[in-house]
């Protein structure tokens, strides 16, 4: 809500008539319209911004869950079983599965759909494959926008599935409320590599294929890592959630802690509000569906924790701040790129620097200076108007 002092944002992009009809159709439940909107988002078809703008006010109803893990960990199979379990309890589900694309041809084989065996023919599971097209940092914007489309459509749960192999993918899952990191047993080295980046973003860790040799060891390694991270970053929550460490000795790894979290959530801020979330470590066998129920409970517990602790407001603010920054950076970058083109292209500028005719700072100043002047000029005008 813009107060009297806040600048008004009258500049929301305007919808074309056709796009307005498309948004209308999406909101009234047309699968075709939803699919088409996601295509426009993916292709960055002119006008897609206005569409996402128009959808924004209808979002916020879905629980968004990110699932990441190394190739072959069983993400797609687990997502399939998750979707089926959510459907069983009456929730509608949207899935965005991101696959890498070839950096050479741009082509991609999007194979995640093959695993969606439990939900074929059920239109209330909307499954969409997206390729990581050569978008510079734009992938997370595109997937976040696609999630908004599913959210506005009215999906209760939206699952975002991606290979956890790089900053791009990490950025993608960070747009989810709850992040599950999938690990397969016996991948001691795998757990090592997880340390860099992905471990920090997991709210729930899942050892999939838990019927394989080495599952217990992987669970133990993850437990240890979770607690080390806990000790390292937040020293304040040792007491209450200390239960998790003892739970790992039993057969069902973190049953105790989950009950704890429920209790904390239901307690409704009775002095526990300052508690932070301790990631759970769960076991699943996605093929048979074993452990999927507990996983959903863990997701629910995390969602409840976010709401009860007020953490959801912080994460949402952080997420939208990141979205704004990304968009502004991209747009200003595009202005600069266009300006570089107008001045003969980057190669010519580089050549002139090489010939010692000019230097990189002077070039940057020459390009950005006029843009900055425009912004300053606009601000001065605005001040005069006010």
């Amino acid at each position: 809500m813009a107060g009297p002092d806040a600048p008004a944002f009258a500049d929301a992009p305007t919808l074309s008539d056709a796009d307005a009809a498309l948004v209308e159709d999406l909101l009234s439940g047309s699968h075709r319209a939803l699919a088409r909107v996601i295509t426009k988002i993916e292709n960055r078809t002119p006008g897609y911004r206005a569409i996402v703008s128009a959808l924004h006010e209808h979002t916020g109803g879905a629980d968004v869950i990110g699932i990441t893990g190394s190739p072959g960990a069983g993400k797609s199979t687990l997502v399939d079983k998750l979707a089926a379990a959510y459907r069983e309890r009456g929730d509608t589900v949207g899935v965005i599965a991101v696959d890498p694309s070839s950096p050479y041809t741009g082509g991609a084989v999007l194979g995640d759909r093959i695993r969606m065996g439990s939900n074929v023919g059920d239109m209330d599971v909307f499954f969409r494959s997206m390729s990581a097209r050569g978008q510079l940092g734009g992938l997370s914007t595109a997937t976040a926008d696609a999630v908004k489309a599913l959210d506005a459509f009215g999906k209760d749960v939206v699952v975002l599935e991606t290979v956890g192999a790089g900053q791009n993918e990490v950025d993608v899952v960070r747009t989810a409320d709850t992040v599950a990191v999938l690990v397969q047993p016996g991948s001691g080295d795998d757990v090592q590599t997880l340390k860099a980046g992905i471990l920090e973003i997991g709210d729930v860790f899942v050892v999939n294929k838990a019927d394989m040799d080495g599952a217990q060891r992987t669970v133990a390694e993850l437990e240890e890592m979770v607690h080390r991270r806990e000790g390292g970053t937040t020293g304040r929550n040792a007491g209450h959630h200390g239960a998790t460490s003892t739970a790992s000795t039993g057969g069902g790894p973190t049953k105790g802690s989950r009950d704890d979290d429920h209790a904390a959530a239901e307690g409704g801020g009775s002095g526990d509000a300052g508690d932070s979330w301790t990631p759970e470590v769960l076991e699943t066998v996605a093929n048979s569906g074993e452990g999927v129920g507990s996983l959903i409970e863990a997701f629910d517990a995390h969602a409840a924790y976010l709401r009860e602790s007020g953490e959801i407001e912080t994460t949402e603010r952080r997420r939208y701040a990141e979205e704004i920054r990304t968009l502004v950076r991209a747009d200003v970058g595009a202005l600069a790129t266009a300006e570089i083109e107008r001045r003969g292209g980057i190669d010519r500028l580089a050549e002139r620097v090489r010939d010692r005719e000019t230097d990189p700072y002077a070039v940057a100043e020459a390009i950005v200076g006029p843009i900055a002047d425009c912004v300053d000029g606009e601000r001065a005008d605005g001040d005069r108007d006010a």
Binding site: T45, L110, R113, V120, G121, F127, S129, A334
Partner: protein, 139 residues
């Protein structure tokens, strides 16, 4: 303000329908499409026509390539086309059939709305070229 570049990619669904379990051809096609720069969604084996429709609608593909080697095209393909129409998706989806299809059936399929039928031994480039030239323009 949007100075960003559009990034259009041709999206294809390579689908196996019915009881036919021969998917080597579908795999080869999927890879060739990928190398041609298309985004390929592969359905997996033994899909029912309604599964194919669901996938084609949700993935919003430009091209639906149905591979049938079992001879059941006369029963399966019409169901897929009907389903696409039901979701208002038929008009801007290029429907192709690959497999062993007798000439008289081919005529019938084309009347139904199949854009082209590719028999055994069709060079990959021919199929890719056909898609490039016929992919529906979308608003």
């Amino acid at each position: 303000m949007s100075a960003e570049q559009q990034e259009r990619a041709v999206r294809c669904l390579v689908a196996k329908v019915g009881l036919d379990g021969h998917d080597r051809g579908a795999h080869v096609i999927a890879r060739a499409f990928r190398d041609a720069g298309f985004e390929v969604v592969y359905s997996g084996l033994h899909r029912a026509p309604e599964d194919i429709v669901q996938a084609a609608v949700q993935e919003d593909v430009d091209v639906l390539g149905i591979s049938i080697l079992s001879g059941a095209h006369n029963t399966l393909v019409p169901k897929v086309i009907e389903g696409l129409k039901e979701y208002d998706a038929f008009d801007d989806t290029l429907v192709l059939v690959g497999g062993i299809v007798p000439d008289e059936d081919e005529t019938e399929l084309k009347e139904l709305g199949v854009a082209e039928v590719f028999g055994p031994g069709t060079p990959m480039e021919e199929t890719i070229e056909f898609i490039r030239n016929n992919v529906p323009e979308r608003a």
